[in-house]
Each structure stands twice: as structure tokens, then as C-alpha cells.
């Protein structure tokens, strides 16, 4: 190769390198612009609304004749209600489960658990919403008593199985050796659920004169809507459980072993250590997990669309439905004329969702980064 061709080749290589570098930088710039444009475009539509009187902003009927009942406050309320019920279900379940998985589950079992949780997280929300609205809601409506009994019965049976296991002869250990507790637990939970169903049905026939609807009205002064906050809470709770579980579990597992050993060497039990040392040490991580779960819940659309009943009522009752921001956008935006007040109000709803979830995610991410640095 002569020196001249070598030089020319060199220039070509350098040019290519430079070009690809610029292309990647362009990709970066477009990425940043894209993120900004999401805010800009939505704000652009919302902007006139912000200038107009308050009643437009909150969505009371405007001059171009949108539904007089269209107010945004009940929607914000509904979104919060749904998220709160979802967290009421998901936080105890997923944090306890994460504590168990990180501290007490054998390693091999945990390795198998992780992909299962990932798959759980991947179940599309339309699937959960559909099965929740079409099957679970009517099912629970006809088994209301069982619903109330289930928490008591399940924890009762689980405890009972625990006692039996402890007092059982040693030969039982061969049947369910340590490390395999989870299978026995599965049987116990199933048995508890089944027992709650049976007793609920029996109680209902034995105790109530008419159906539970009448009993609800007469004794509690409540109406039971089939599509209500409890069902939303359960199904949306299941949707956010993997999120909260995964992040909490990471945070709990990241607590250094030396902390545990220090605590146990002072004579603390495993549970005391988990509760007093590990849980507080991972506290901020769990907070981040709950925040992310909350953000996922307020933005969830298909589940609330299917199960919440989409009625704009404002009460905290567990047995009534609600209407959420996200569901309203999905239901009404296809019918809104461009640049109409309704159109802008729905963009405003989306804007609220965007800003709140984005902010929550940033906070959670910062918390997680700090945590990672601390234990890195």
C-alpha cells in the first residue's frame, strides 16, 4: 500500500467515524426533543384553557355545548380513589412478599420466582381489565360475604397450617422439608379461599332474608355497584404488585449481609432482624417502589375502563364505582371535535397525568440512584 492510498483510506475511516458520531449525537438530540415535544404539544392544546375562566378549566359546560356534567374534579377524585384502593391491596401484599422473598426464600426458589414475576408484570392491562370486569366483578357480586371472609379465613388457615406443621411429628418434615414451605403455603391459601367461599355462601342463605343488596341498603345504607372500587383495587392491585414487589425486593436484597449478621449476633430472631434492620434500611427503596406503583395506578387505563363503572360519583365508598381521568380520555376523546372545549379539557386531563407521573418517576429514580450509590 502506498502512503498516499493509506492516507486516503485513513481519511475515509475518520470521516465515517465522525459521521456516525454525529448521527448518534443527532439521535440524542432527537431523543431530547421528543421528550420535550410530548410536554409542548399537550401544553399547546391546553394553553387556551389556562387563560379562560376557572369553570372552563375544570370543565363545566362551555359555549360550544359540552355536557354540563363534565367536570374534571370528579375525575381527579376517581383517579386518586382507584389508585388508593389499588395500593391498599398491593402495598401489604407486595412488600410482605418482597420481604419474604428477599430474606427467607431459598436462593434456587428465588431464581425461579423472578421470571414468573416478570411474566406477571407483562400481562397486558386489557387482559386484566377484561377478566376483572367481565368475570371477577359479577363473581364477587354474588359472593360478597366470601369477599369479606377471605382475608380472615386465608390468614387463619395459613396460621393453622403453620401450627400443624410445627407440632407434627418429624416424619412430616420429609413430606414438606424446609425450603419447600412455599408449596404447603399454596395449599393453605387455596384452602382458606375455598373455605371462605363455602362459608360465605352458607352465611348468606342462613342469615339474610333477601339478597345482600337489600341487606346492604337496609343495614349499612350502602349501595353495592357490581363494578366498584374493591374490584378495581384488587385487579389494579395485581397489576402494580409486580412493580412494587420487584423494586422493593431489589432494595431489600441490597441491604448488606453485615447488617443482618450484626443483628443476629446480638440474639435477634430472623423476623426481628428483617423487621427492625432490613426493612428500615431499605425504607427509601420501598418508598420509591410504592411511588412507582402509585404512578402506574393513576395512569392505568384499560383496567379502570372495564371495572370502575365510569360513573363520576365522588365518594370514598368501596362499593361504588368512579370515573378516572385516563378512562375519560379514552372514552370521550374519540368523540371530541378538534379544538373544542371538551377536546382541550381532555388534553388537560392527560396533562395532569403526564406531569404527575413524570414527576413521581423522577423522584423515585433519584431515590433509587441514591440508594444504589450508598450500598454500591
Amino acid at each position: 500500500m502506498t502512503d498516499r492510498t493509506r492516507h486516503r483510506r485513513m481519511d475515509r475511516r475518520r470521516l465515517l467515524d465522525l459521521l456516525v458520531g454525529r448521527l448518534a449525537a443527532l439521535g440524542g438530540v432527537v431523543l431530547i426533543l421528543t421528550i420535550l415535544s410530548v410536554f409542548a404539544v399537550i401544553l399547546w392544546v391546553v394553553y387556551p384553557l389556562l387563560l379562560s375562566p376557572a369553570e372552563y378549566r375544570w370543565g363545566v359546560s362551555g359555549p360550544d355545548g359540552i355536557d354540563a356534567g363534565y367536570r374534571i374534579l370528579p375525575l381527579i377524585f376517581g383517579t386518586l380513589k382507584g389508585a388508593v384502593y389499588a395500593l391498599l391491596f398491593a402495598v401489604p401484599v407486595s412488600v410482605l412478599a418482597a420481604l419474604y422473598a428477599s430474606q427467607f426464600l431459598p436462593r434456587a426458589m428465588k431464581e425461579r420466582l423472578k421470571p414468573a414475576v416478570e411474566i406477571m408484570a407483562a400481562v397486558p392491562s386489557v387482559v386484566l381489565g377484561f377478566i376483572g370486569g367481565v368475570w371477577l366483578a359479577p363473581y364477587l357480586a354474588s359472593h360478597v360475604f366470601a369477599l369479606f371472609l377471605a382475608p380472615v379465613f386465608i390468614s387463619g388457615v395459613v396460621t393453622a397450617v403453620f401450627l400443624i406443621r410445627h407440632h407434627a411429628p418429624v416424619s412430616f418434615r420429609a413430606f414438606n422439608p424446609p425450603g419447600r414451605e412455599i408449596w404447603l403455603l399454596m395449599v393453605a391459601v387455596l384452602a382458606g379461599g375455598w373455605l371462605a367461599l363455602e362459608c360465605g355462601t352458607w352465611l348468606e342463605t342462613a342469615w339474610l332474608r333477601a339478597g345482600y343488596e337489600t341487606w346492604f341498603e337496609e343495614s349499612l345504607g350502602l349501595t353495592y355497584a357490581q363494578r366498584n372500587a374493591i374490584v378495581v383495587g384488587m385487579v389494579m392491585g395485581l397489576a402494580v404488585t409486580p412493580v412494587i414487589f420487584t423494586i422493593s425486593e431489589d432494595a431489600l436484597s441490597a441491604v448488606p449481609r453485615s447488617f443482618l449478621e450484626g443483628s443476629m449476633s446480638l440474639g435477634a430472631t430472623r423476623w426481628q432482624t428483617a423487621l427492625r434492620i432490613v426493612l428500615p434500611a431499605a425504607g427509601t427503596g420501598i418508598l420509591a417502589a410504592v411511588l412507582l406503583g402509585f404512578s402506574r395506578a393513576i395512569g392505568e387505563t384499560m383496567i379502570v375502563l372495564f371495572i370502575s363503572g365510569n360513573v363520576p360519583v365522588m365518594d370514598w365508598s368501596a362499593f361504588s364505582g368512579f370515573r378516572a381521568l385516563s378512562a375519560s380520555v379514552a372514552l370521550d376523546l374519540p368523540n371530541a371535535a378538534r379544538d373544542d372545549t371538551l377536546y382541550r379539557v381532555l388534553f388537560f386531563a392527560a396533562f395532569l397525568l403526564l406531569v404527575s407521573t413524570f414527576a413521581i418517576n423522577i423522584v423515585a429514580e433519584l431515590v433509587r440512584r441514591r440508594l444504589r450509590r450508598r450500598y454500591a
Partner: protein, 265 residues
């Protein structure tokens, strides 16, 4: 202060100097890694740098082929010249420089490709397209690295299947495939067992006829065995540099003596 009382310049120009380093200081962020180092490296001999961990010897090595360009937030002052040309000068093309100054790393780092592709990688980048020519280069370099006999039947297999010692010799073959003038070796034997180490040392002695070799090692015996010149570094300073035998028998500096007799470091 160090510069004045250190007998820095063993410019025993038996042959001409290929690399000279003049008053080089270097910082990672705010931390100084090299302090005012001046020295020269001669053509076609083995020069070794010894010293305790973190003394800056690897940093010095990586400055010679500008590998530290890839590290963010660093700062350098001073001049490094190769054949009299400033390698940090505006006219220097860093990829051409690196082609002339090859490097072998502490951990054997073959690409996750076949043995053949590992050796052919460099020539390909530098424009060799002909298959016959490539085959020839691969065979020559593998023979040169004493590896041909062991791998000639498995050229298409993954390089990751080789033993660590073989991987390191493959890395040497890969480095010489682009025909460098200088070969920098950053503790090339630190992850190898004694047998593999002695093979690499043999190889180095064989290669020095064609290449200038600069080796960083924390193994004093190795420096004594293979090198003509040795430099001793401590806390970013080049304490002493001279002919290896002289340095190990009659060190001029107290600190060198402490180190090689095992009293410090």
C-alpha cells in the same frame, strides 16, 4: 523538587531513542497520577517499569499510545515524542499512533470471535481485504507468538475456549498483526500461572529483535529476567531508571533499595 535530585536520564544511547517522555504530569480528575516524569526508551530492547500498585506505571504506559484519551476528565502536561514527533501534537492521528504502538493488557482480552478473526481484526481494519494475504498474516503472527502449533486445527473456534496463557499469546499475536514498532505490555503475566508466564517471557525475549517492548510489572524477578532497562516508580514519580543489572545490584536511590529488598511497598 524530585526532578532535581533524581538521576533521571540514563541516556545511554546504545541505539537511538524511540520514545522520549519529557516532564509529563497527569491527573485523573483532581488526583495526580504522574508527577513530572522524564525518561527515554530505546529501540529494540525491553524496558521494564516496576513499582507498587498505584504508582502510576500503568498510567505512564497508557499515555504512550494515548489509551487515556478514552477516559473522561483527565488532564496532562508535558510532552511525549515518538521518533521525535510529539504524539499529542495536532498532526498526530491517534488511530495511526496506536497502530504503531501496540498494547497487551493485564487480563487476556480476546474478542468473542474465532481465533482467526481475532488476529485478522487489526489487518482488516487497516484495509487488508485479500483472504490469502490475511491467511498468511494470521499464520505468521500465530507462529511468531508460539501459538500456531497449538491452534492451527481450531482457527475457526472461539478464542474464549483457549486457556488463559494461550489467550494472552493470542493477544500478542493480535497486537503484532498490525506490525507495530513498539509493544506495550501491561502486567501481561499477572493472571497467568508460572508455566504460562515463562512461555510469555520466552516470547518477549524472542520478539525484542523486531520490536521495542515496554513492560509494566510488579514482579521484580520478571523485570530482572527479561529487561535491559528498568525504571522504578513510586507515588507517580519515576524514582530511578537505568540498566537492569545495575539497578538490582546497586540502586542509587534509597527508596529503590527499600523496594527491591522488600523493606517497603
Amino acid at each position: 523538587m524530585t526532578t532535581e535530585n533524581t538521576p533521571v536520564t540514563p541516556k545511554i544511547l546504545r541505539e537511538e531513542t524511540i520514545i522520549d517522555v519529557e516532564r509529563v504530569s497527569f491527573w485523573y480528575g483532581g488526583r495526580a497520577a504522574l508527577k513530572d516524569v522524564t525518561m527515554a526508551i530505546d529501540r529494540q530492547v525491553i524496558t521494564a517499569f516496576i513499582g507498587p500498585s498505584g504508582c502510576g506505571k500503568t498510567t505512564l504506559l497508557r499515555l504512550i499510545n494515548r489509551m487515556n484519551d478514552l477516559v473522561p476528565q483527565v488532564r496532562m502536561t508535558g510532552t511525549i515524542r515518538m521518533n521525535g514527533v510529539d504524539i499529542y501534537g495536532p498532526d498526530t492521528d491517534v488511530t495511526r499512533l496506536r497502530r504503531r504502538v501496540g498494547m497487551v493488557f493485564q487480563q487476556p482480552n480476546p474478542f468473542p470471535k474465532s481465533i482467526y478473526e481475532n488476529v485478522a481484526y487489526g489487518p482488516r481494519i487497516h484495509g487488508v481485504k485479500s483472504g490469502v494475504f490475511l491467511d498468511e498474516i494470521v499464520e505468521r503472527c500465530l507462529r511468531r507468538a508460539f501459538l500456531w502449533e497449538e491452534v492451527q486445527e481450531q482457527l475457526e473456534e472461539s478464542a474464549l475456549g483457549l486457556s488463559l496463557g494461550q489467550q494472552q499469546r493470542l493477544c500478542i499475536a493480535r497486537a503484532i498483526a498490525v506490525e507495530p514498532e513498539v509493544l506495550l505490555m501491561d502486567e501481561p503475566c499477572s493472571s497467568l500461572d508460572p508455566v504460562a508466564t515463562s512461555r510469555i517471557e520466552e516470547l518477549m525475549l524472542d520478539l525484542k529483535d523486531d520490536y521495542t517492548i515496554v513492560i509494566v510489572t510488579h514482579n521484580m524477578q520478571q523485570a530482572a529476567r527479561v529487561s535491559e532497562y528498568t525504571g522504578f516508580m513510586l507515588k507517580g514519580e519515576l524514582v530511578e531508571m537505568g540498566v537492569t543489572d545495575a539497578m538490582f545490584t546497586t540502586p542509587r536511590d534509597r527508596r529503590t533499595e527499600d523496594y527491591i529488598t522488600g523493606r517497603a511497598g
